[in-house]
Symmetry: C2
Amino acid sequence: MKARRLASITPFQVMALLARARQLESEGRRIVHMEIGEPDFDTPAPITAAGVAALQAGQTHYTPALGLPALRQAIAEDYRRRFGVEISAQRIVITPGASGALQLLSAALVDPGSRVLMSDPGYPCNPNFVRLFGGEPVAVPVTGRPHYQLDAESVTRHWSSATVAALIASPSNPTGSVLPRAQMAALLGAVRERGGALVVDEIYQNLYYEGRPYTALELGDDVFVINSFSKYFGMTGWRLGWLVAPADFIQPLDALAQNLFLAAPTVAQYAALAAFEPGTQTVLEQRREEFRRRRDYLLPALRELGFGIDGHPAGAFYLYADCSAFTDDSYTFCQQLLETAGVAVTPGSDFGTQAAQRHLRFAYTTSLAQLRLGVQRLRDYLQCQ
Amino acid sequence: MKARRLASITPFQVMALLARARQLESEGRRIVHMEIGEPDFDTPAPITAAGVAALQAGQTHYTPALGLPALRQAIAEDYRRRFGVEISAQRIVITPGASGALQLLSAALVDPGSRVLMSDPGYPCNPNFVRLFGGEPVAVPVTGRPHYQLDAESVTRHWSSATVAALIASPSNPTGSVLPRAQMAALLGAVRERGGALVVDEIYQNLYYEGRPYTALELGDDVFVINSFSKYFGMTGWRLGWLVAPADFIQPLDALAQNLFLAAPTVAQYAALAAFEPGTQTVLEQRREEFRRRRDYLLPALRELGFGIDGHPAGAFYLYADCSAFTDDSYTFCQQLLETAGVAVTPGSDFGTQAAQRHLRFAYTTSLAQLRLGVQRLRDYLQCQ
């Protein structure tokens, strides 16, 4: 009696590795965790304090489905301050995590049979959201030369009469790569010409280490943008994100949200109001600098060990590493690294099928000291092979 | 570029009435709110205190997709204590609200073209969940004679080769009616014989005013049950629910949850651990008694005014009232009640199509004093017609 789709939706392989790592730890082993897509920092204190204050004030009831007006306004103001772009608060929808935003947009854009272009490698939930609504994800192979991203050219090549949208994450999970602004504009132009929708996942937007980031919202009011309080703002467990959509989508998105999840968690919305305060921003920028230091250490260190890291990992907290110098079976290699070296990383197969057996994802969501220990263990392990 | 499904998913009509009520209030009118499907009580203090303590302890990261093991265990123990039924904690999945549970189960059971039987009137999101996944909701007209519920007979009559499941809510929204245990067993038998799944929404389970409630889980390990911390536990804004599924569904539900929402909100899960403590239970039982007093006042009062309330509203906090003595257009009637009498109620059209123009839903989610005021205003209004 199970729906057929269940056969195509399998647990991420990293879950089995994580469970094994926890088991080894319970037996006394010390594991270096470079597999986890979650910042190691707790939520900044001012945000947590705002959450505590909201609970103590009895803010435990539903909010409107589109979210607290004050939070929608605060996000609009942040776009103005940070990027100089005017976004009406009316176009901002608060969601339970970026997951809720991906789901709303998939429901709003994807008919049965519709095709959506996305990169391989890419965020593994994306194809499943499209499939859930009867659509067909089209995995476009991308490489690190130049940028591990869809662009105008690849979209033009893969677009068909059934294609309705292109979905891109910049910075990307698992590669940390960014599509430069001019190429994002060209991509938008190519999608527009074909009457499609461009969806840009910007959840790692402010985790960018090379100057000032931009938002695809600067390029036009017809872009769909997904964002989240999880990564940069350190609020993973609160389950809070948002999306920005063209104005004529807001009423249908409201109706969808009423049906799909009623509203995002109330305490998270009140807590997030503190995310844009200057004191919080200071903490977040310090953390960003810390992520940059980790990247600046880990990227050359892995290359020196013999991992191939193409493209330019300018954001997020991931490095996507070619391990074909050591193996042609990255999942088995991950198991060996865990068991023998005590280092946990994520196999490429969690992010697609293209060259997945030749790739690993390293997350620098642990301290520099742990990263150094991990690199030392990798060196020792690889030298003994 | 909008998906075709958007045409069939419209905002609930009560939303427009609620917005108008808020506007009238901002102009100084006092409105009696009998339209809101949310308890007027704040979250019980011990639950909120547990949430505050979790935040202060830095519990702001993701939990496992299936939920905190301690919470799954606490729910299993509550089933044992309250109903004497042994449910393995492994079969319990923590979800972002009952919405998350409905969504997971729809994804797990409904293929494109699959039919799901449900009652009309019923919870308005149910057909939309089925449609989202390409299925076809089959609205089975039910009346208050005897119980406003699907039963073995109606399921047998409406089952087809494409039918995969029957979905029932007991106590029901909008009618407050309950399917007696023996008839639930017969319903399960009829669904089983046909190789289908029975999904029982028990989110109002403990808001029951006539003796001890039961759970459909007593009837077999093949029943799917949806529940929530929103209504009885007073945790609407926290967005926390759960489902209980047959053991062989847990692994696929885990994979679906990883993709659809990653995990339920962490602070809500820690807070909910306090929901089963004796001190909290005392508060919740006092509230249940208060809901009972409200029902015992409102039911005869509305009947005396000329509303027809069929069946036996033994649970939840709703009365579904036939208003055909006054109108054949319940939505316009709702608008008039709001504008002229200052009483907000929900039109039947939010719950289906069967006799919807002849029905209203009254929610007793406001104080006895407000209910008395509302009834007085209704009396004055109806006498002047």
